[in-house]
């Protein structure tokens, strides 16, 4: 890895033109997204979404917010593992996880600006009137605070990049406090996103509605975080291997095996509490219905199966299997959030009244994810995320 490459970055490989296939496609997505953005803010939600009075929440909430927050959980999971549980062998995974977490939450806030009717009023619950009976108030407060925590945790990398040693050392001393705050705030908002739906028992299908919803969402956020770290590490290794230092490369296998083992264990626990949820509400007979089949697809194909595959991968030290399983698990988390928010929601309604996203809604979601990847690439190719800055090598 050359220091110069670290400074000049790699928007395109040195010597080649800016118009790589990725850049071209990303560029088109960004331009289309920009156009839809203008439409959204000049013509209103009705012009760019298929939201209606039966479906006030669409994929901007179901995917961008709900799945996005779950998948950004790698930040608190990894820093808890390393700093609270003392598992130093995963240290190289902390910075990429924090970066993914920070970008994830930042993008959730961006997506939120598209979804709410008056985004300039987003600070209102804090500065005008506090609707403290609402779980959404709690989600908003925790997400805002946690984004701040993530930003400070992430800031060590740009501070090192900019050579601001004093500021950097102040932030590093805050690591323990920030990590603990991060776990508290994450526990709260991850679970509360699930708890939002407790208010609508008549609208959410009984196989998904449970008084355990907050626990389900929290536990699955841990699974999502562990899997995203493996997933992101796989992709980074494919595209940014030249940025990785020896420690990172050496620890990579350990991270995949260790996190895969943890994910398998937590998936097993998640599977059990989902089954217990059915038994507590005596909903066995529902498994034979159409929605029941779909629930089983989620439970068996995206929870039980990855649990088993992770276990096999860990036992056989099969890194390839672990990597693919992490992708399957990530899809499963997204599926679960979409199920709770959109598919099993309003299950009573006839199919001609059901919601399917407008292509422009999909366009914005893709736009937001693409923007995230582009920013990720920018940061990872310039700042000490995948490697330790030589000036600060031993100061953790």
């Amino acid at each position: 890895m050359s220091q110069e490459a670290a400074v000049f970055g790699e928007t395109s490989p040195p010597g080649k033109s800016l118009y790589t296939p990725f850049n071209v496609i990303a560029g088109i997505i960004l331009i289309v997204g920009f156009v839809i953005t203008i439409l959204r803010f000049t013509k209103g939600l009705g012009a760019v979404t298929n939201l209606d009075n039966n479906y006030p929440w669409g994929i901007w909430i179901g995917f961008d917010l709900m799945a996005g927050v779950a998948l950004a959980a790698g930040g608190y999971v990894t820093s808890a593992a390393v700093y609270i549980f003392g598992m130093k062998r995963y240290h190289s995974a902390v910075r990429p996880a924090i970066l993914t977490g920070f970008l994830g939450y930042a993008l959730v806030v961006v997506a939120l600006h598209y979804d709410v009717g008056r985004p300039w009023r987003l600070p209102y619950p804090f500065i005008m009137q506090q609707g403290t009976t609402s779980l959404l108030f709690e989600v908003a407060a925790c997400v805002a605070l946690y984004l701040t925590v993530l930003f400070i945790e992430f800031s060590t990398a740009p501070l090192e990049w900019l050579g601001l040693k004093r500021a950097r050392s102040i932030v590093v001393r805050l690591t323990m406090v920030l990590t603990i705050f991060g776990v508290i705030l994450s526990t709260l908002h991850q679970s509360s996103l699930g708890a939002l739906f407790l208010l609508a028992p008549s609208k959410l299908h009984p196989l998904w509605y449970s008084s355990y919803l907050p626990v389900f969402f929290f536990v699955s956020s841990v699974i999502a975080g562990l899997s995203m770290v493996i997933f992101e590490s796989t992709l980074s290794h494919r595209y940014f291997a030249h940025k990785m230092d020896e420690t990172h490369l050496a620890e990579k296998e350990g991270v995949a095996l260790g996190f895969g083992k943890a994910a398998s264990l937590v998936l097993a626990g998640y599977f059990t509490i989902k089954v217990l949820g059915i038994s507590m509400d005596n909903n066995w007979h529902l498994l034979g219905t159409g929605y029941g089949m779909w629930f089983l697809v989620e439970l068996l194909g995206f929870i039980a199966l990855p649990c088993f595959l992770y276990a096999v991968g860990v036992r056989e030290k099969n890194l390839c299997l672990i990597k693919w399983t992490s992708g399957l698990t990530v899809l499963g988390i997204i599926l679960n959030r979409l199920n709770v928010c959109l598919i099993a929601f309003n299950w009573h309604l006839p199919s001609d009244e059901k919601y399917f996203p407008h292509w422009m809604e999909i366009g914005i979601s893709v736009f937001v994810v693409t923007a995230g990847i582009v920013v990720f690439r920018f940061i990872v190719t310039r700042m000490p995320i995948l490697y330790e800055h030589p000036d600060y090598k031993d100061s953790h």
Binding site: T132, T133, V177
Partner: protein, 41 residues
Amino acid sequence: MEIQTLQDFFLHTKSITYILMAVILIGMTGFWLFLTDRDED
């Protein structure tokens, strides 16, 4: 001002609780620093 509805009751209790939570987080941090100040590391 008598509290007549469950909604009003929760509004009242949760508001106080949120403020307490903020105080607890800051207070706990201070207490933790106080407790671990003289640890040899």
